[in-house]
């Protein structure tokens, strides 16, 4: 299951935080753990270069995209490689929504669209759609082109 998707700005403030199957009392812990992980490791990292970590039986893949950092956390079948796939879908879809690498402002401007995009990519902890063009159509309630 994909346990969490989190976007933060360069100061570590949360922009989007979506958990699946994580008890409410553990969310704060995860939030601070991820933000600290980013603060420790993301300096100087190139855009979309993936970093990876594991914490107990849970995997974390994270990266930088413009002014925002993106974290995905998973376990079981969502190991580091599956999460790399998930974060790839997320980053390409977000870039697609923003039209370029997002600044924090741009990200917030497109907030609604980004929420819809994430809703198409992950649903209750499972990867649902992987193609950015298809996702772009789906958030506009347009059927996929291949259909």
């Amino acid at each position: 299951m994909i346990l969490a998707v989190l976007f933060a700005n360069s100061e570590g403030n949360i922009l989007v935080e979506r958990f699946n199957g994580v008890p409410a009392e553990e969310r704060l812990h995860w939030r601070s753990f991820l933000v600290k992980l980013g603060a420790d490791n993301l300096k100087g990292v190139k855009n979309e270069e993936l970093l990876v970590a594991s914490h107990r039986s849970v995997y974390i893949v994270y990266t930088v995209l413009g002014d925002v950092s993106v974290y995905v956390v998973g376990k079981d079948e969502y190991d580091e490689l599956a999460l790399a796939e998930v974060i790839f879908v997320i980053t390409s879809a977000v870039k697609d929504v923003c039209g370029k690498l997002p600044t924090e402002r741009l990200f917030l401007d497109k907030y609604g669209r980004i929420c819809l995009t994430l809703d198409e990519i992950i649903w209750k902890g499972y990867l649902e759609n992987t193609d950015k063009d298809r996702i772009r159509r789906l958030v506009r309630l347009k059927p996929p082109t291949e259909f």
Binding site: T103, L106, Y111, D119, P144
Partner: protein, 883 residues
């Protein structure tokens, strides 16, 4: 909230500080949500408000029940709008608000309308929303549509229904299982994602049906799976089938191995990796099977993608634990990963190298690690320390450079867990490598000069007290220890006083000087420190036997602390002082019956409360309250209950064996499971003809045994004092049965005598052994000395594996495994197991078992026993020889 929101132009780089959500406030947004009720809906404005609501929710903001309900009702009005963008937002916000069961009804009809809509995308989204908020009843109503949706031509609709199925399977499995045929059809879909989701759902539906999973895997591994994601799932399911079928096919090729091997040549890296990992995790994987997998993982080590490097090194790290030689080829690639920017990868590389490296590469590796250590976090450092510890134990000749490394990093900054890991490692090296002792102790001494952790200081002082006096020049440690008395907090000072006393007791030449130092501690500000100093001055100065004093200072407290704590709590201050010998020594009582009748519900112990910690106390109280048994002396041990009846029989009986020095008492716990019967005068007739050394002396019948109300009857035997007599006992339950009128619950006056055959019961050697652990086996073993040691070798014959042989011997002896040595790593060819216990007559026994297994699975065992009595050491050998 009058800020402009979502400007038309996208270029805001000159206004980076401005956030569209600046000053956003829940109350204001909830006010804004009133626009949803406008008769003339403005879709754009409504979308903006929903975005703000989403932003609040994504920031962790919560709505009260009233607020959520209000927003939810308002949102339902938006179904009137035909604006596509707004409708999409509505779907999201309903899911986020997750309305309660009584509110759902408001949107059900709108969503059901969307679900049957001609617009495909309405259908897909409505399915997802409905499945999130639905309950069982509603689900039955929409089941028909969902089944259709699974085989819908539009892949988005099909995927929505399939993923919904995965979620619904958790809450309504019986409904989702009815969709098997449709899901099966979807597995053949040409759309890659539909196939992926269908495969996941089909496997979950059938996961408990081994044959069906096998069939699924067989058919798909022959056909083509479209997406790499689905292929990964298939590899996982295939490994599961291989795992489960391995035990049936001992010989010949492994089923499906060719499929896994074929996946190593797949074009998607994800699939290649999944197959490689599946191969490395096969049970009893051979080098021939392993080689192609290791080759692809080695290629991944130099991949440009960090995730692939991480995945590969993580898998190789695991393989190195069981097949270090197989990984050696990758060492060069792995060494280059030590400098990887991603510290997780670097740490895994280092620890793998430490596992696979040879003696000649140690120095080079240590040099690389030294530069690496400064820029990783504590949790990574701990992993490295643990790897270095195992390396040092593997190559004891390298102790000098490894010990130096440990002492250097001990001086650097670090948190408690990290420092503890280093100290633990040094202590283990000192214990296991005699040459490393003196330098290790000095490193520890230097560390406590500047240690900020009280726990570590006291641990080190304790350790110094045990090991320091045995070195060539014990006096050099005194200064470090005595410094603690001046410079530290009370806890550490008290520890230092105890350590000084140990030096005084062991080294006669130091005794006068230790006395001077201890006398100075009499004026300490803390009473514990003063008390200890007084105690030790008196003990060391007394003319009593030197052995007693050493036992007092060095003897381990052979009582589990929980038991001591409980006994102290129960102790009521009186004339009689607390007697430490009254504290039970048994580590824990097995709460469950030994499995003679598996699957049986626990019958309870009747009178005494059945909670495990208090069981032994309760037994003791119960037995001492029965006059017939009052003069049997102190209870040595009570066994776990042994079932004497099969599950679901009319009468459930289990027995607890109570062992005294010269007696054995069987406590039969009986339960009558027939409501129409009352049993009276219940006894157990025991035939001890196969237990020659036992003679029945008393029997205590149970007067009445009503339905479902457990009771006990007892039979006592005399046996030769202190002798671990064994034997077999057959048991017959005898009673008078009376009919009971179920309506009134009254029993008839007249009863009939009846009997009920119970299973046999054995008193075995393990019944005379108490499971009593020791905190440090090596110290206990050495202090016991070789005087009463008995060593012999045994052939245990063919066994399934080493673990089974180890378990059999532990159970035979009934002793407490120490230091986790009861766990045998899989695929081990040899194993050492350490046991400790107290034999009847209160004789401490330590056992060291060394096992080895050869090709045809023949197990040989070397048994070394040390105890305080050679007759007992011999007795342990006899137990094994006759077992």
């Amino acid at each position: 909230m009058a800020q402009p929101f979502l400007k038309k132009d996208d270029d805001h780089d000159d206004e980076v500080d401005y956030s569209p959500f600046l000053g956003i406030e829940k109350g204001a947004v909830l006010q804004e949500a009133r626009v949803f009720n406008d008769p003339q809906l403005d879709p754009r404005r409504c979308s903006q408000v929903i975005t703000k609501l989403l932003y609040l929710l994504n920031q962790g903001e919560t709505f009260t029940k009233v607020e959520a309900t209000e927003v939810f009702f308002a949102v339902t009005k938006l179904f009137q709008s035909r604006d596509l963008g707004l409708r999409r937002m509505v779907y999201v916000i309903i899911k986020e608000l997750s309305p309660s069961a009584d509110e759902v009804i408001i949107v059900t009809s709108s969503l059901m309308k969307d679900m049957t809509s001609k617009t495909d995308m309405y259908r897909a989204n409505a399915i997802r929303v409905l499945c999130q908020i639905t309950d069982g009843t509603l689900l039955t109503q929409i089941e028909r549509y969902l089944k259709q949706a699974i085989v819908d031509k539009n892949p988005v609709v099909a995927s929505a229904a399939l993923v919904s199925g995965i979620h619904l399977l958790q809450t309504n499995p019986e409904i989702v299982k009815r969709w098997s045929n449709e899901v099966q059809e979807a597995v053949q879909s040409r759309a890659a994602l539909v196939q992926f989701h269908a495969l996941a759902l089909l496997h979950q539906i059938r996961q408990n049906d081994r044959l069906a999973v096998n069939k699924l895997v067989s058919s798909l591994t022959r056909g083509s799976v479209r997406s790499p994601l689905a292929q990964c799932l298939l590899i996982r399911y295939t490994s599961q089938v291989i795992r489960e079928s391995a035990s049936n096919t001992q010989t010949g090729d492994r089923p499906f191995y060719d499929f896994l091997e074929g996946c190593l040549r797949h074009k998607a890296e994800m699939v290649i990796f999944e197959a490689a990992r599946a191969i490395t995790e096969l049970n009893g994987v051979t080098s021939r099977e392993l080689t192609p997998a290791i080759t692809v993982l080695q290629l991944f080590l130099s991949s440009t993608k960090p995730v692939l490097r991480f995945a590969a090194v993580r898998t190789l790290n695991k393989v190195a634990m069981t097949h270090p030689i197989a990984v050696t080829n990758c060492n060069i690639d792995m060494e280059s990963l030590i400098s990887d920017q991603n510290r997780s990868i670097a740490t895994l590389a280092i620890t793998t190298l430490l596992k696979t490296g040879n003696e000649s590469s140690v120095d080079r590796l240590m040099k690389q690690i030294t530069t690496f250590m400064s820029d990783i976090a504590d949790e990574f450092k701990i992993v490295v320390i643990e790897a270095i510890r195992s390396l040092c134990l593997k190559f004891p000749l390298k102790h000098r450079s490894l010990m130096n490394f440990l002492s250097n990093i001990l001086r650097e900054e670090g948190g408690f867990e990290y420092k503890k890991a280093i100290v633990d490692s040094i202590v283990i090296l000192i214990r296991d490598i005699p040459e490393a002792k003196e330098s290790g102790l000095l490193h520890l001494c230097e560390f406590i000069e500047d240690c900020e952790f009280t726990y570590l200081s006291t641990q080190i002082l304790h350790f110094l007290g045990i090991e320091g006096p045995k070195t060539s020049d014990p006096s050099k440690y005194i200064r470090y220890i005595y410094n603690r008395v001046h410079l530290e907090n009370a806890t550490v000072r008290a520890g230092a006083v105890s350590t000084l006393a140990k030096f005084g007791a062991m080294v006669d030449s130091l005794k006068p000087r230790i006395f001077i130092l201890l006398r100075r501690c009499l004026f300490d500000t803390d009473d514990e420190v003063r008390d200890r100093a007084t105690l030790y001055l008196n003990t060391l100065g007394a003319d009593g036997a030197v052995e007693d004093m050493k036992e007092f200072l060095f003897g381990s407290l052979d009582i589990p602390l929980v038991n001591l704590e409980r006994s102290l709590k129960n102790y009521e201050p009186s004339e009689e002082s607390f007697d430490i010998n009254s504290v039970p020594k048994e580590v824990k009582i097995q709460p469950l019956a030994e499995k003679k009748a598996p699957g049986k519900k626990p019958t309870g112990l009747g009178g005494p409360p059945p909670g495990p910690p208090s069981t032994i106390d309760a037994y003791e109280k119960l037995l001492s309250s029965i006059p017939e048994f009052a003069n049997f002396g102190k209870l040595f041990k009570s066994s776990a209950p042994v079932e004497l009846t099969e599950a679901e029989t009319e009468y459930a009986v289990n027995v607890v064996k109570h062992i005294f020095d010269g007696h054995v008492v069987f406590q039969y716990n009986c339960t009558n499971t027939i409501p129409e019967q009352l049993l009276e005068n219940v006894t157990v007739i025991v035939d001890a003809s196969e237990a020659e050394e036992f003679a029945e002396v008393a029997s205590k019948p149970l007067r009445s045994l009503p339905y479902d109300s457990p009771g006990q009857t007892f039979v006592a035997f005399e046996k030769p004092e202190g002798v671990p007599a064994v034997g077999k006992f057959s048991n017959m339950l005898r009673f008078i049965v009376k009919e009971v009128d179920p309506s009134t619950g009254e029993a008839e006056d007249d009863g009939v005598e009846d009997e009920y055959q119970l299973e046999e019961l054995e008193v075995v050697a393990a019944d005379y052994m108490l499971k009593v652990g020791v905190s440090n086996f090596r110290n206990a073993w050495e202090s016991m000395g070789p005087d009463c040691e008995r060593v012999d070798e045994y052939d245990l014959g063919p066994r399934e594996n080493l673990a089974e042989a180890v378990n059999a011997v532990i159970n035979l002896l009934g002793m407490q495994p120490c230091e986790g040595t009861e766990v045998v790593p899989s695929n081990s060819r040899s194993h050492t197991c350490l046991l400790s216990g107290v034999y009847i007559g209160n004789v401490k026994v330590l056992v060291r078992l060394q096992f080895g297994i050869d090709g045809p699975k023949d197990v040989a065992m070397k048994l070394a026993v040390r105890s305080e009595d050679e007759a007992v050491s011999d007795a342990i050998h006899e137990i094994v020889a006759s077992g």
